[in-house]
Structure formats: C-alpha cells, structure tokens
Symmetry: D4
Subunit: 185 residues, 8 copies
Amino acid sequence: MATGEQLRVGIIMGSDSDLKVMRHAGRALRTLGMEYGIHYEDRVISAHRTPHLMAEYAATAAERGLRLIIAGAGGSAALPGMVASETALPVLGVSITDNPDVMNRALGSMIGMPEGKPLAVFQGPAGAFNAGLFAGRVLMATDPGMRAAYEAYELNELLSPVLGKDVSLRELGAEAYLNQPPATT
Amino acid sequence: MATGEQLRVGIIMGSDSDLKVMRHAGRALRTLGMEYGIHYEDRVISAHRTPHLMAEYAATAAERGLRLIIAGAGGSAALPGMVASETALPVLGVSITDNPDVMNRALGSMIGMPEGKPLAVFQGPAGAFNAGLFAGRVLMATDPGMRAAYEAYELNELLSPVLGKDVSLRELGAEAYLNQPPATT
Amino acid sequence: MATGEQLRVGIIMGSDSDLKVMRHAGRALRTLGMEYGIHYEDRVISAHRTPHLMAEYAATAAERGLRLIIAGAGGSAALPGMVASETALPVLGVSITDNPDVMNRALGSMIGMPEGKPLAVFQGPAGAFNAGLFAGRVLMATDPGMRAAYEAYELNELLSPVLGKDVSLRELGAEAYLNQPPATT
Amino acid sequence: MATGEQLRVGIIMGSDSDLKVMRHAGRALRTLGMEYGIHYEDRVISAHRTPHLMAEYAATAAERGLRLIIAGAGGSAALPGMVASETALPVLGVSITDNPDVMNRALGSMIGMPEGKPLAVFQGPAGAFNAGLFAGRVLMATDPGMRAAYEAYELNELLSPVLGKDVSLRELGAEAYLNQPPATT
Amino acid sequence: MATGEQLRVGIIMGSDSDLKVMRHAGRALRTLGMEYGIHYEDRVISAHRTPHLMAEYAATAAERGLRLIIAGAGGSAALPGMVASETALPVLGVSITDNPDVMNRALGSMIGMPEGKPLAVFQGPAGAFNAGLFAGRVLMATDPGMRAAYEAYELNELLSPVLGKDVSLRELGAEAYLNQPPATT
Amino acid sequence: MATGEQLRVGIIMGSDSDLKVMRHAGRALRTLGMEYGIHYEDRVISAHRTPHLMAEYAATAAERGLRLIIAGAGGSAALPGMVASETALPVLGVSITDNPDVMNRALGSMIGMPEGKPLAVFQGPAGAFNAGLFAGRVLMATDPGMRAAYEAYELNELLSPVLGKDVSLRELGAEAYLNQPPATT
Amino acid sequence: MATGEQLRVGIIMGSDSDLKVMRHAGRALRTLGMEYGIHYEDRVISAHRTPHLMAEYAATAAERGLRLIIAGAGGSAALPGMVASETALPVLGVSITDNPDVMNRALGSMIGMPEGKPLAVFQGPAGAFNAGLFAGRVLMATDPGMRAAYEAYELNELLSPVLGKDVSLRELGAEAYLNQPPATT
Amino acid sequence: MATGEQLRVGIIMGSDSDLKVMRHAGRALRTLGMEYGIHYEDRVISAHRTPHLMAEYAATAAERGLRLIIAGAGGSAALPGMVASETALPVLGVSITDNPDVMNRALGSMIGMPEGKPLAVFQGPAGAFNAGLFAGRVLMATDPGMRAAYEAYELNELLSPVLGKDVSLRELGAEAYLNQPPATT
C-alpha cells in the first residue's frame, strides 16, 4: 500500500448532487493507492447552509492530519474560498459544471479570490480527477510507493492507450476506424 | 427628520477600495433623510480575511436593530451571500465593477445563490444607489416622513430633470444642444 | 396562521410559460405560512402586450395592500423594471431562464436599471424561491408567526438535510453512496 | 428640398447622455435633405423616469404625422420596446454603447422582444447613423428628391472615398501611406 | 384583401435549413393578409455559394416591385449585409439560432455593419415573425386594409390571450393552473 | 487520379473522440481525389500525453513529404500550436466543439498564438471540412488534376444544390416546401 | 532575393483604418525577403461599399499571379469570406480588433464560414504578422531562398531573444530585471 | 531563515512582458522567507519559441531539487500545461491578463487540461501572489520556520489592515473617509 495509514485528503462538496463530478477526485486518489476512509474522506459541507460546520471543518483539518482539501462547488461557489480562508492547508477548488467547455459562474467566483487567500482552481469531471492527481503529486514527495503508482498510471493509462489508438487509426483511417465493431470484454 | 433615532441599515464591503461604488448607497439613504451614524453605518468586513468578524456582524445585526444589510463585493464576492446565510434580515448584494455594462464575476457569484438563502442583487454605482432606495422602499412602509422624502426625490430629481432636458432638446435639436455653453453655478 | 388576513405579495409574470420558474416563488411563500388568494396572488401581465394593465397594476398595488411585488420575465424583461418605475413598493425581479448557469439577456436587462428606480434581481427557479423567502424576511419584521415558520424552515429544510447527507456520505464514500437503492416513501 | 414640409421621424432617447450616439441619426437624416424641427425632432423621454410621457408620445406619434421612430437606450433599454408596444409605427432601436465591438446588455434587451411587438435593432454610433439611413430608405419610396440625395450620398461619401484610398494605398504601400503628412484643409 | 396585387416582400435565406426560423416571417405576412406568391416570395440565396445570384437579386429587387427584403442567415451571416449593400430597399436581417437566449455569431456579424449600409436586425423565430410584422408596419402606411388586419391581430392574438390567461391564473393560482387538463380542440 | 503518389497531408488529433469532427477533413480531401494512406494519413497524437511523439512527428513531417498538417484539438488545444512551433510546414488548427455557434476555449487557445508561430484556425465539423478544402487550394497550385476536381466540387456540390432548392422553394413557398415527402433514393 | 520577380500575395482590407493591424502582414513578408510592389500589394477594398471591385479583385487574383490573399476586416467582417467564395486561392482572414484578448464579432463572423468555402482565420496584430509568415510557409515549398530567410528569422528573432532574456532574468531575478536601465541603441 | 538552503520553486513565464504579473509570485515567496537565487528562480521559457528548453526544464526540474513550478502565460497559454505534462511535480498556472475581471483566453486554455495531466489555475496579479502563497502552504508542511512566517503574514498583512480600516470607516463614514488626507510615510 502506497501511503501511510493516515487520513491525508479531505474531499468536500456543497451538495450531494456534486458527487457526479466530485467522485472523480476519489477515483484519482484510489488510482494512486489511497483507500477511502483510510487515506481520504468524502463530506457534504455547505458554505451557505452549514457555515458553522464549514468553519469547524476548516479549522480542525490540519490537526486531524489532512494534508490537502479538495472542495467542489457550483453556483456562487463560496465553499472552496471560505475554506481556504480558514485553514493554512493547500485547498484545491473544483468548479462543478454540466458543460466543461463554458467558463461558468462557479469558475469566475473561484478564480477571483483576493490576494492573500490562495485557491488552486480546476473545472468539471476531468478537473476533479486532476485535483486528485495534483494531491498525489504533492504527497508523493515523501511517499515512494505513491510515486511508483503514479508512474504506472502515466504509463498504463495515459501513454499506452494513445499509442495504441494511434497505431489503429493510422492503419485504418478515420472511416474504417469508426466502423470497427465495439470491443468485447 | 424622516426616520426614528435608531440604526436601520448596515452598509458593509470587503475592502475600502469598494467605497468608490458603495458610497452611493449612503448617498441614497441621506436623500431619504437618514443620517450617517444615526440611521446607517459603513463597515469594512471581509469574508476571506475577517471571517469571524463577518459571522459575528451577521449574527448580531438584527439584535442591534438593523432592518436591512447592503453588502458590496467584487471578485469572488462571497461576502453578501455568506452574510445572507448567517442572518434572517433582508440582504442586498452590490456587485462592484469598473464597467457596469459587463456581467462580471461578482455578479455571477451573487446571482448563483442556492435555494434557501436569498440575496437580492444590484450592480455598480447606480446599483449601490438603488440598493439604498430599495432599503427606503422597505422602511417607509412604517415611516411617513421617509415616504414624503421619497416622493420629493422622485419629483425633483427624477421626473423634473428629464422633462426640463426634453424641452431644451426638442427646441434646440442635438447639435445646438451639445454646443450649449456649460451651465454656470 | 402566520400572516394577517390580507393580500401582501403580488407575483406577476409576462407569460404563463414563465410559471415553470415562477411557481417556486409561491412555494416559498406557502412554506412561510402564506396562502394563495389570501396572502398572495399570481398574475399574467405583459409589459409589451398589456402595457395599460401593467401600469394600472403597479399604480394601485400599494392601495390594494400589497407590500412587495415579485415580477418574472425573460427575453427583453421590461416588466420588472417598468413596474418598479410606476410603484414605490419594493420590486423583486426574477430572470426566467432554462439554464441558470448562464448570465442571460433577461438578467442583463434587469441588472441595468438606471439610478433612481431600484430593482432587486434574482435568477432562475432557485432565484424565484429565494425571492419568496426574501419577501418573507421583509414581512416577518412585523409578523412573529412568520418568523417562527422561517426558523423552522431553516432548521428542517436547510440545515438538517445537509447534516444527514454528510453523515451518510462520510460513512459510505462516494461510490457506495451513489449505489444506494433509492429511498422508498 | 427633398421631403414634404411635415414631421416624419422622431428621434428619442432615455437620457441626454445618449446624444453622443444618437446625434448620428439626425446627421444621416440631414444628409438625405431632412431638416431639424421640420422633418424630424429630437426628444429626451425615459421609460423608467417618465413612463406617462413615453406612453403619450407613442400613442400620438402617428396622428402627429410621424412615419418612423428611432429610439436609443442603454442599460435596461426598455424604451425602444415599450414604444414599439404602444404604437403601430415602425420603431428602430439603437443600443447605446461605448464599445460597439461588444454585444452589450442593451442589445440583449432589444433583440429579445417577444413575438408580436417588432423592434428593428441597430448598435452604436454607426448604428444610429444607419437607423437614419434606414428611415430614408423607407421614406424615399414616395419621395423622389430624397432618392436622389440618397444616391448622391452613396456615390460621394461611400464609393468614392474607398476608391480614392485604394489608389493611394496601392501606390504607396502600408508604411509610406501611414507616413503621409496629414491632409491640410 | 389587404394589399395590392403585387409582390411586396422578398424573404431570402442562405440555406433551406433556415426555414425552421424563416417560415415565421411568412406566417406574419399572411396574418396581415398577404398571400404567398402574390405579395411575398421565399428564396434560397447564398452569399458564399451563389454570390452572383445574390448580387442580381439585390440589384433587381426594386424594379421587380419589392418594397422590403427580409434576409435570414446563420454562421458568418454575410447575406443580409451584402444584400443591403447592393440595393437601396430597406433590408431586415434575421439571425438564425437554435437558442435565442444567446447573442450568437450571426447576430454579431449583422449588428456590426459599417456606417453607410443600414441593416435592421432581428433574432430567432420570434424575430423572424416580428420582421414580418415590421414589414407590415411599413406597408400599411399606404394600405388601409392591412392596417385593419394589423389592429385585429393585436386585439385577438396579443391582447386577448394575455387577459384571458390572467383571469384564469388569478383565479386558480400557479399550482392549480398548471394542473389543468390540456384544452381539447 | 488527381495528386502525385505521395503523402501530402497529415491529419492529427489529440484523441480518437475528435474523429467525429476530424473525419470531415479527410472527406474533403477524398472529394478532391486524394486517397487515405496514399495522399493523407490520420493520427492520434496528444500534446499532453505523448509530447515526445508530437515533437518527433512535427520535426519529421517535412522530410516525410508532408506539405500541410491539419491538427484538431479541444479543451486546452495545445496540439496545433505546439506542432506549428516545431515544423515550418503550414499548420491548420481545427477547434473541436459540440456547438459550433459558440466561440469556445479551444478556439481562444488557437487564435491566441504569439507573433512568430503561425496557426490558421478553423472551427467545428464545417471547419474541419474546410481545412481539407484549404489544403486542396494550396496543393492544386501545382496539380491540375486536383484543380479540375475542385471545380467539379464547387459546381456539383455547392452551386447546383442551392440553385435547385431555390427553384423549389420559390415555387412552393415555405409551408409546402416543408411538407414535401422526404426524397426516396 | 528570395522570391521570383512576381506578385505573390495580395493584402486587402475594408478600410484604411485597418492598416494599424494589417501593416504587420507586410512586415512579415518583408522579413522573408518579399518587397512591396514587387511580391505583394496592399489594397483598400470594401465588401459593403465596393462590392463590384471586391468581386473583380477576387475573380482576377489568380490570373494576376497571386498565390494567396490576406484579407483583414472588423465589424461584420464579410470581406474575407466573400473573397474566399469568389476565388479558389487560399484566403487568410485577419480579425481586426483593439483587444486581441477578446473573441470579437469579426472573429465570430469569420470562423462561421459554411462548409464549402474555406477561410483560415487569424486575429489582431500578431495574427496579421502570422498570416504573413503562413503565406511564407506555403510559398517556400518552391523557393529555397525564402526558406533560408525563414530559418534565419526563427533563429535570430524568435529563439535568440528568448534565450538572451532567460539568461538575464535568471541572473537578476524579477525585481532587478525590471529595474534595469532601458537599453541604449 | 525559513527554508533549507536549496532551490524549491521555479517561476517561469513565456515572455519577459509577463513579469508585470509574475513578479508578484516571487514577492509572496519572499514574504514567506524565501530568497531569490537560493530558494526560487525566475526564468523566461517559451512553449512555442523554445520548446526544447521547455522540455528540458520540465524533465530536469525534480532532480534539480524543485518542489513546485509556477508557470505564467497569456494568449494560447500552452506553457503551464505542457510543463505539467513533462514533469510529475505540482504545477501552478497563472493566467496573464490586463483585466482580471474577465475570464480570458489564457484562463480557458489552462482550465481545459485533459484528464491525466493536472494543472492548478490562478489568474492575474493577485493570482500570481496567491500561487506563491500556495507554494508556501505546500512547503511549510515540513518547514516550521516558514509556517511561522506564514502566520505572521496572515496576522500583519491580512487581518490587521482590514480591522484598522473598519475602525476608521465606521467612525468616519464613507464621505469623510474618502476625504482624509493621504497618509504620510
């Protein structure tokens, strides 16, 4: 197992409807060898509906051992920035959106943080996954097992599939490639 | 004097650089007979830099006698919505912007409040002034003196100037109107 | 029953197709104890197709006992601002939209009101509901029964559900949470 | 003189600050032989500040002999559409803007008129001038003198200058052309 | 019959896929008593694919008796402006769009015409219908029959339905109104 | 056959999901007589996942005989610009988008290339096809057979269908045209 | 000298005010050894004001020996696309803008060309220069002298200055670098 | 001194014109006790003009001891994402912009990174400073001296100034506050 037996990453979101995007953050952490409940946690915490819970979560995160917080929000998207203002841990904000091709309200809210309270911004499902990978890049500075898992991920899930598809497409051309029967499992 | 001798309206903003917009809220209140320090107050309160002050301000506003809060913010613009979430007073948010013709990040953040925490949104200097007038419309339900001041404002500062300019422009036409010597005071 | 037996809030809209959004304003009022036909009314009034009806509605609203007007419109969205210009009641404008994540034409029209005629702006279904809650925040200053209803709403429908979902999500994690069987009623 | 001795075109705007754009509408009319005070008029009429004047102006425009109305407005830009809703004359709306390269709030408001109330939209100073020319295209159907003025305008002010500049630029190339001494008058 | 027995209005579009929007222009003309093939025509003419046909159509439109041209286009939307540059008839441009709530590329292209070549702009299906009504407003200056048809349209199809729906909604409220069984024909 | 027996055009894309747009580039090339595998190739090459493959592809493209590269990308869309920076061949970038009516992130990324590294930009499926035609316009300077194919394409697939539809629409009018039974093959 | 003694590139624009952007296209061509009046020409040609000149220019460009056309336009920006529709030469469109950071109307118009008429799009001063470089990339396929000039440009004006600045900045750090006295010539 | 005597953070940018924004990243690092040339470095590295230098920089950053890379870019903004693709260090991208209130092209490019290559995004001068603070939040996990510097910064430069301004503004009100004589040093 790649990481020490300790909670490292908190994934929080304003509503359980954000899970369709935020689940990808946990998927990335598991890819790097972290396990739910041991190395990371998922929470529903709302800036506007549970402000006291939010303040307490942010204030106690470091002493609970967390090393990073990944916070997703849509709409006004106050959660990530408010958490960043009440902790000194690195906070990664994920803009929840149905259409990642649009720079939406939540992105504007997150990217507009004032000088003094840093928030690192990501967008959409790919951004949630990448926030998980980013957390891995920070944590693996002191975790060789996680570094090996990261390298395996890059080789097996990023590089190889592209190279494989390139070989097929180059041989077949677009029309034949698109007419291939779907792969059977 | 139009209003009872009691603090009624709190004007708050995230930074003193917001005063260039937010001063217009107080100007509207004074037009309706409210005086600074007696009927309304101006405060610098930052959601991200002074979250505890913000929470305390919101939680005690009603017991201090405030009837409405006007909150201005730019960028992430978390202040108005966070205040709205910690008080049951009506909160008016003013989007700070240098270019009111653009629907900016702060407007997007404010207009995106989730169901359950209402925030009434205004934009720019005209919006700050209108937020003050809106507060007057609420307060004058129980304050006949303020109602009279409001009616005088509408007659003397909205209706009459337009009618006067219309008479001049109609007589002169655009070119002569624009070539008039500036009025002397 | 929370409010006195008198019409307090008028909900108007330019077209009955706006009901898909505007129905949420009435839902909020009922949550606070107001009843249809007694404490609030729904009307179809078009700025462009029935300008005389609009002018008469605005001009007589205060004497009919209304305390606030909630006006929804899409497209050019002239209705809320025109009503605000012909009454001295507080007017809440709701931008009708199929995609609340976009700052649309109707929002731009409403947020651009000139200095002197205040319009408080909300957007989409959540905004329509919040406009109703905002009206409640104004009215409950003089209505203790409504204040109690408001506090119950905040506790039972905002705070508790988030806390409950947080307990479940924290225990289950995202994947198991999403795989729960749907609740039976 | 090109047009009969009768008022034909009304140019209205919500504020005299709109004259910087709207003066170009009158300039176009004068290019086609219409004179201020005889064939067209300039007025300041505000939808939100003088709604009754606006309604009366629209309702009596046809009986006063007007054939078209050119209405400029910025911000919420309710004026052009409200006038179009209270007259059956053709109405041309001009979006006031400091930056014609942006599709601003006023344009969104005007272009969003509901089915049933037509508003022809133009934007910025060039659009104000073009609205005047468009009025000329409508009026010259029954006015041969204006047609001749229109044809002279197209030849002398549109075609010839472009051809002249093309000859110079082709001979000189960009750098020498830009280094020409300014023309003396 | 409302109009003289002569072709008055040309409706042109860059592609037959634009008919889903442009058919509404003809529907408006028929509402005012004009008949297809007698008083107006529909044409497919592409600025980019049939530039010579476009130039010829524009150059001969006036001598064929046309009084206005309604031109629809999407994408680059060069057609309306190019036609306006080669005729002195009034030209109404309709921006083709699937989402009228967005100020799209075609609108930007049309609204950006340079000084000297006027193009009156409308958008989407409602805009196409309104362009037809606008043509009627121009033509009925000399056609009393069409004026009567126009007044009947305003009374029967704009004013009355709104008033009728207002009566129903006011009586029923939003929830009961939305739960009405669909009208049977 | 129109082109010499040599690879001329490389079509590359960041993901095989881009094929839904990029297949149209190859369709255009085939329309001009080029054959897959002989005159052009399709490749999956990712700027971010296979940077070394990308660099090698760009660096060797000219010596492999390629005359132009058509590169499609969505999202960050780094591929077309990075390829343009590592070859001196003309590079055509195609912005991948589900909604060509919107100027999306990929378009912004491509159109923002710094001075010194040219990238010719196209958007969406029509843009991919047009990028193929553009390549043909470059290549046919030295290929008379391709020029003839190009002229036949313009006549048979651009001009004639528009003229044919114009004849039908003009005769039938919009309503009857839309009610035609679908053509049988 | 790098290119044969023959006109190769036509630079056209809708107005001489576009020269502030379009002059950079010629600057790029001169960097590659082409001379004004011998290898390229600058012209003012307006789609809307001189449509016949535009059509003639496009129709005769190939027989005059031109190999590419670079066409700049702002606003409606019909020129580049209309020229592309009347010639089979490759056409490069340059969106004229004061703010290259914005995707403006002219860009939307150009990028929206329909399938069948290709237009390669660039934006702003850097885009005008890059359009010139792109023309060079096409022409140097058959012109070794131009290829050498291109390689020298890349080495001396792109690569070396960046490397030189990197050495200085690395040594000095941001503050000292910014406080350097301006270079003397 | 707060950090070990080793290079920790690389600040890179595509052009020295980006220093007006990127200098603020170094300012934040110095606030936390890091010194130029010892703990961090500034570099000019261009994705499009020096791709090989960029690839080498990214590939060797970890072995040179760097713990994070802060990369600024405007326009196409390929640099941050390309660096993130060639290193496994955490990379922070800063969108260079003159107007932080706008979500510009560079932001769109950075926020659109594909799944698998994480890039944490910041915008404008405040974002550059915050990227520096974010780096400090990561590094101080293992550096108690930096943690103390961070806490001092929060107390002295974030919290105290807001509280001080609040006291003054509350006492003076907006008008008197704005009329204060400027502070003397």
